[in-house]
C-alpha cells in the first residue's frame, strides 16, 4: 500500500516535470531575451485567463481580472527597459524582436506607454467589480470593453515590432 502510494507520487512528479520542461517558444533563449520572454509570458497567462472568461469558457472571476489588470500595469511600466540597445538584446538566440524597435524607438515607447495607460484604466475598472453595484453581466461587459482596448497595445506592438518564428 505504502509502496503503491510512493510509486504514484513519483509518477505524478515525473508528469509535472514533463509538463514543466515542455519546450516552449523560448527554449534556448538566455539573458535579457529570456527575461523579456518570461515577462511577456506572464502577460500572456493573464490575458488567457481574462479571455477565457469573456469567451464563456470559465466563470466570471472578479479577483482574477483585478490580478491580471495589475500585472498589465506593472509589466507595462517595465517593457521598454527590457529592450536595451545592445548586441545581446538585438540578436540574442531565439529573439523575435524586430530591428524596428531601435530604429523607431519613439514609436515603440509610445505604444508601451499607451498600453500602460490603458492598463491603468482597466485596473481601475477591475477594482470596482466587487462593489456589488453591478450584475455579473454588466461587469463582464465593462471588462470586455476595457480589456479589448488594452489588448490593442499587445497586438499593435506585435504587429510592428515582433516577427513570430516557427
Amino acid at each position: 500500500m505504502f509502496k503503491h502510494y510512493r510509486l504514484r507520487s513519483v509518477m505524478l512528479g515525473l508528469g509535472v516535470m514533463l509538463v514543466v520542461s515542455q519546450p516552449t517558444a523560448h527554449t534556448g533563449a538566455s539573458g535579457i531575451v529570456k527575461e523579456r520572454m518570461d515577462a511577456m509570458g506572464v502577460l500572456g497567462d493573464h490575458a488567457r485567463v481574462v479571455g477565457d472568461m469573456l469567451k464563456g469558457k470559465t466563470a466570471f472571476d472578479a479577483d482574477a481580472v483585478e490580478t491580471a489588470a495589475a500585472a498589465f500595469v506593472m509589466h507595462g511600466e517595465q517593457i521598454t527597459g527590457l529592450f536595451p540597445d545592445t548586441e545581446e538584446s538585438r540578436s540574442g538566440a531565439r529573439t523575435e524582436a524586430l530591428p524596428a524597435i531601435w530604429s523607431e524607438w519613439d514609436d515603440f515607447v509610445a505604444i508601451a506607454t499607451r498600453f500602460t495607460e490603458d492598463s491603468r484604466v482597466f485596473a481601475n475598472i477591475a477594482s470596482k467589480l466587487d462593489s456589488g453595484e453591478q450584475s455579473d453581466e454588466e461587469n463582464s461587459r465593462a471588462v470586455r470593453t476595457a480589456f479589448f482596448r488594452t489588448s490593442k497595445g499587445c497586438s499593435g506592438c506585435h504587429e510592428r515590432f515582433r516577427l513570430k518564428q516557427d
Binding site: 490575458a47 479589448f148 489588448s151 499587445c154 497586438s155 504587429e159 515582433r162 516577427l163
Partner: protein
C-alpha cells in the same frame, strides 16, 4: 544543305505551335472571363441599389482597406501607396478613393466587377495578381454593388501612387492570360460556395493568399490552407486547416478574429494583426462565427 532546310522547317513549326498555343490560351481565358462576367450580370433578379454601410463591411472582410491604406505612414483611407514585396519585385497598391483623377471616381460598377472578378483593367489589360482577384472571382453580385457604392462615398484623395518596381519585363503583363487559366478557379460562381463561412474564407477574405503554398509562378495551385513557408516578406505563415486548428474551439477562433488573441493568450502580429484590426474585427459576430465553423469543418483541408 538538306539538313539546314529541315532545321528551318522545324523551327518554323515550333514558332507556329507557340503562336497557336498563346492564341488558344488567350481565347480560352477570354471565354472564362466572359462567362464569369455574364454570370455576375445575370445573378440576382434586378440590379438593386447598393447599401454603403454593407459595402464598408464587404471592404473590411475583403481586406481592401488594409491593402489600399498606407496606415504605417499615416496615409489617407484607400489612397494606396502600400508596398507589397514579392519575389517578382515590389508592387504598390493604387489610389482607389472616389477622386476622379487619381482614384476611381469615374468608374462604373461593371468596371469594378471586371477588376475584381476577372482582374481586367478598364482598358482591357490584365492586373497583376498581387491584387488578389483569384480570390475575388467568387464575389457575389450584391457584395460588389454595395462595395461600389461605399467606395464612391469615401473622401476623394488626390495623388497617384508610385509605380511598381518589378523585376519582370513590362510585356509579362500580357502573359497573364496563361497565369489566369492556371490559377483563377473557374467553377466559382456556380454555387460552390453556398455557406456563408466558406464563401468568406475561400472568397473575399482571401485567407489562402497568405495561408496556402505558392509555386514558382506565384500561383496558388491548390487553395488548401496548409500554410506557406515563405509568405509575405519571406516570413512563414502557419497552417489553418481544420487539422492544424484542432486545439482551437469555435469560441477561440471567433475571439482570435475579433482581437487577435490565441488560445494561449499570446497576440498575433505582423500581417495577421492588420487583417484582424482593419478587417475581421469589424465584421458581425455572426460572420466571424460562420468563418470559424467553416475553418473547423472537414471541408477545410479534411480531417481524416
Amino acid at each position: 544543305m538538306r539538313a539546314r532546310r529541315f532545321i528551318s522547317l522545324l523551327a518554323l513549326c515550333a514558332v507556329g505551335i507557340c503562336v497557336s498555343a498563346v492564341a488558344y490560351v488567350q481565347v480560352r481565358n477570354q471565354d472564362i472571363e466572359d462567362n464569369r462576367f455574364a454570370l455576375f450580370s445575370e445573378s440576382g433578379a434586378a440590379r438593386s441599389t447598393g447599401d454603403a454601410e454593407r459595402g464598408e463591411n464587404v471592404a473590411r472582410a475583403s481586406g481592401c482597406i488594409s491593402c489600399h491604406t498606407d496606415k504605417a505612414n499615416g496615409g489617407a483611407l484607400l489612397a494606396g501607396g502600400v508596398k507589397l514585396e514579392s519575389p517578382f519585385g515590389t508592387f504598390v497598391s493604387p489610389n482607389i478613393t472616389s477622386d476622379k483623377e487619381s482614384g476611381i471616381g469615374l468608374w462604373t460598377v461593371d468596371m469594378l466587377a471586371k477588376a475584381l472578378l476577372n482582374g481586367r483593367r478598364p482598358d482591357g489589360k490584365h492586373y497583376w495578381p498581387a491584387f488578389p482577384y483569384a480570390a475575388y472571382a467568387v464575389m457575389q453580385q450584391q457584395d460588389i454593388i454595395d462595395l461600389f457604392v461605399w467606395l464612391q462615398s469615401t473622401d476623394p484623395v488626390q495623388g497617384a501612387s508610385p509605380e511598381h518596381a518589378l523585376l519582370l519585363p513590362g510585356f509579362a503583363r500580357a502573359g497573364l492570360s496563361f497565369w489566369k487559366t492556371l490559377f483563377v478557379p473557374v467553377d466559382y460562381q456556380s454555387g460552390r460556395f453556398s455557406e456563408r463561412g466558406e464563401y468568406l474564407v475561400e472568397g473575399p477574405a482571401h485567407c489562402a493568399e497568405c495561408h496556402a503554398r505558392r509555386n514558382l509562378l506565384g500561383g496558388i495551385p491548390d487553395r488548401r490552407l496548409s500554410g506557406n513557408r515563405r509568405g509575405p516578406e519571406g516570413a512563414a505563415v502557419p497552417a489553418i486547416t481544420a487539422d492544424a486548428l484542432r486545439e482551437w474551439t469555435i469560441e477561440d477562433l471567433m475571439f482570435f478574429l475579433e482581437i487577435g488573441m490565441t488560445p494561449e493568450g499570446d497576440f498575433t502580429g505582423g500581417h495577421m494583426a492588420a487583417v484582424i484590426d482593419q478587417g475581421t474585427a469589424h465584421l458581425s459576430s455572426a460572420d466571424r462565427q460562420a468563418m470559424a465553423l467553416y475553418l473547423k469543418s472537414s471541408f477545410n483541408g479534411g480531417t481524416e
